[in-house]
């Protein structure tokens, strides 16, 4: 079994490689600033949790996490709800201009967010929505809705159409069929879509930072500002970085089975 030994070694090497920078951040977050800047040490010589305590007690820090989670959750729910009927239409019906529409949706995924910074700023100022969670959630729909439609359409195409027809014969109305029969069938698709929406919204900074100042400031923006204001507080910065991974890691843990099983269903 030389091949399996080789492939296992390759995999372990890759996993170790991807953990290395994360380990370095974790390592830093448990050190004092003097130790971080003093010399390179593989693990903290004076273990300290002060950096984490700073984050959990200072409102300027922990409110960033709350803000991020609020707009990410809003965005996730909106993206999935909007994409569900559209993906159903794309997977089941042909209609005037459907192919063009699908590609047009994808093109929105291709717009560099930098292009939209200024227009977004003006648009949301006009509507008085600056510095609100909903503004960021709406702005992130730009890249998440097309992706959600794309992924969900793949899942829905994997469900045989006979199921729809049988349900109608059995006397189901469309809304009832959709809620009772169809949604449970593509549960894993919704899980995967939600994960991707979560991920892309959670990690985006440029738009989120431009559209917020105090009330809805995301954690990522809090981090950049602290860097410039108080010199470089590397320890706290690293601790904040470690904590940004936690929510995502929890989400991936919950959807891991869906990713393994369902994602490619319709797409392959």
């Amino acid at each position: 079994m030389t091949r399996s030994v080789f492939s296992r070694a390759f995999l372990i090497l890759f996993l170790a490689g991807s953990l290395l920078p994360i380990y370095w951040m974790l390592n830093m977050s448990l050190k004092t600033n003097e130790e971080i800047l003093g010399a390179m040490t593989m693990w903290p010589s004076n273990l300290t949790f002060d950096n984490y305590i700073t984050i959990f007690t200072d409102e300027a820090w922990y409110s960033g996490y709350i803000n991020s989670m609020i707009y990410v959750a809003l965005n996730m729910v909106m993206a999935v709800l909007l994409a569900l009927p559209a993906a159903y239409a794309f997977s089941r019906y042909s209609f005037l201009g459907d192919k063009h529409l699908f590609f047009w949706l994808l093109t929105n995924r291709m717009t560099p967010p930098a292009v939209f910074l200024l227009p977004f700023f003006q648009l949301y100022s006009t509507f008085g929505m600056m510095d609100t969670h909903i503004a960021v959630a709406l702005a992130h729909l730009l890249f998440n809705v097309p992706l959600a439609v794309w992924i969900l359409e793949g899942f829905m195409s994997g469900i045989p159409k006979e199921i729809d027809e049988t349900a109608y014969i059995d006397g189901y109305t469309f809304p009832k069929f959709f809620m009772k029969i169809f949604l449970p069938l593509i549960k894993s698709g919704i899980g995967v879509t939600a994960f991707f929406c979560f991920m892309f919204s959670w990690v985006e900074l440029l738009l989120a930072r431009t559209l917020t100042s105090v009330q809805a400031k995301p954690i990522a923006a809090t981090m950049t500002r602290t860097v410039s204001a108080a010199g470089m507080d590397w320890g706290v910065l690293a601790a904040a970085g470690v904590l940004t991974i936690v929510p995502g890691a929890l989400v991936i843990w919950f959807v891991r089975h869906y990713i393994a099983k369902g994602f490619a269903m319709g797409r392959v």
């Binding site: 920078p21 559209a86 239409a89 529409l101 930098a114 200024l118 990522a220 981090m223 929510p247 890691a249």
Partner: protein
């Protein structure tokens, strides 16, 4: 699947169109507006036609940023796609090992982009960073803030670290969808490992690979936050990619006209390249006849 013709389906797509229109078409119109006017004050604007476009197209620093960008995106695709496929093939199919490797693989994806930049900023430092120190101790002089090749390679390595997981996740889910019967049939035929990959796994991964290639292409072409935090575009202009160039113009120098004109050109380039890639990949796939 044969689809029924039903133009009422438009009603189901309408919410998506409205929401995307709100966040795409309206801002895009503002950009178009800026690109053909010289804004002198809140109520003063002069129509300048294509002048900004001409100015941007002649800009030497844009040309170099453009070629830097193309090389970067090609390098990203050339490394991440094969590596991602390779890793996905090595990953166990089930059990706790599969769950564990899935979670570890996805970790880099879940880190906010500026945090990614910050991690690498320290990780690569020669004095206190693990990677920088190891490379320097190995006798290779490495300094990503001073040497432009090192900076470019560091940005590339960071991107590989950050985004290969996306390719792995997509390919992995593609592989899991292949029924066991396919492999058994191949075994009976005495197919080699390579043949199994070439004639079963690769064709079955075609669609997820298409998503992976397109997403990686678009996103690497729009890369901004990570190199901005890591190197700030430097040293010199060594890691100034198109997004940085644009943001410098729009936010730094506040040249709205040229910035808007360039935004449109930028968007059209990505659109064109994605369209070519999309069509090419669809043709390649159907040639397989599997």
């Amino acid at each position: 699947m044969n689809k029924t013709l039903n133009n009422k389906a438009w009603w189901m797509v309408l919410p998506v169109i409205l929401s995307v229109a709100f966040s795409a078409i309206m801002p895009l119109m503002t950009v178009v507006n800026y690109s053909v006017q010289d804004i002198l004050g809140p109520d003063q604007a002069v129509f300048v036609g294509t002048e900004w476009f001409k100015e941007v197209m002649r800009d030497e620093s844009l040309h170099s940023a453009f070629f830097r960008q193309i090389w970067f995106s090609l390098a990203v695709l050339a490394i991440e796609i094969p590596l991602g496929i390779g890793i996905a093939l090595c990953m166990p199919a089930q059990g706790w090992r599969a769950s564990l490797s899935l979670v570890i693989v996805s970790l880099p994806l879940l880190i906010p982009w500026n945090v990614v930049g910050t991690i690498w900023q320290i990780f690569g430092r020669g004095d206190i960073g693990l990677m920088g120190k190891l490379i320097n101790d190995a006798g290779i002089s490495y300094n990503y803030t001073g040497d432009s090749t090192d900076a470019w390679l560091t940005v590339l390595l960071m991107d590989v670290w950050h985004w290969t997981p996306l390719v792995v996740l997509l390919c992995y889910s593609g592989l899991r969808a292949i029924p066991e019967a396919f492999y058994q049939a191949a075994k009976i035929d005495g197919a080699s490992r390579l043949a199994v990959f070439r004639f079963i796994q690769l064709p079955k991964m075609r669609n997820v690979l298409m998503i992976a290639v397109l997403l990686r292409f678009m996103d690497s072409f729009m890369i901004y936050t990570e190199p901005f935090v890591l190197t700030g575009g430097g040293p010199g202009n060594a890691t100034t990619f198109l997004s940085q160039y644009l943001t410098q113009k729009a936010v730094g120098q506040f040249d709205l006209g040229p910035a808007a004109a360039f935004s449109l050109i930028y968007f059209l380039i990505i659109l064109l390249l994605s369209f070519v890639l999309y069509n090419w990949m669809q043709r390649v796939g159907t040639g397989d006849k599997i």
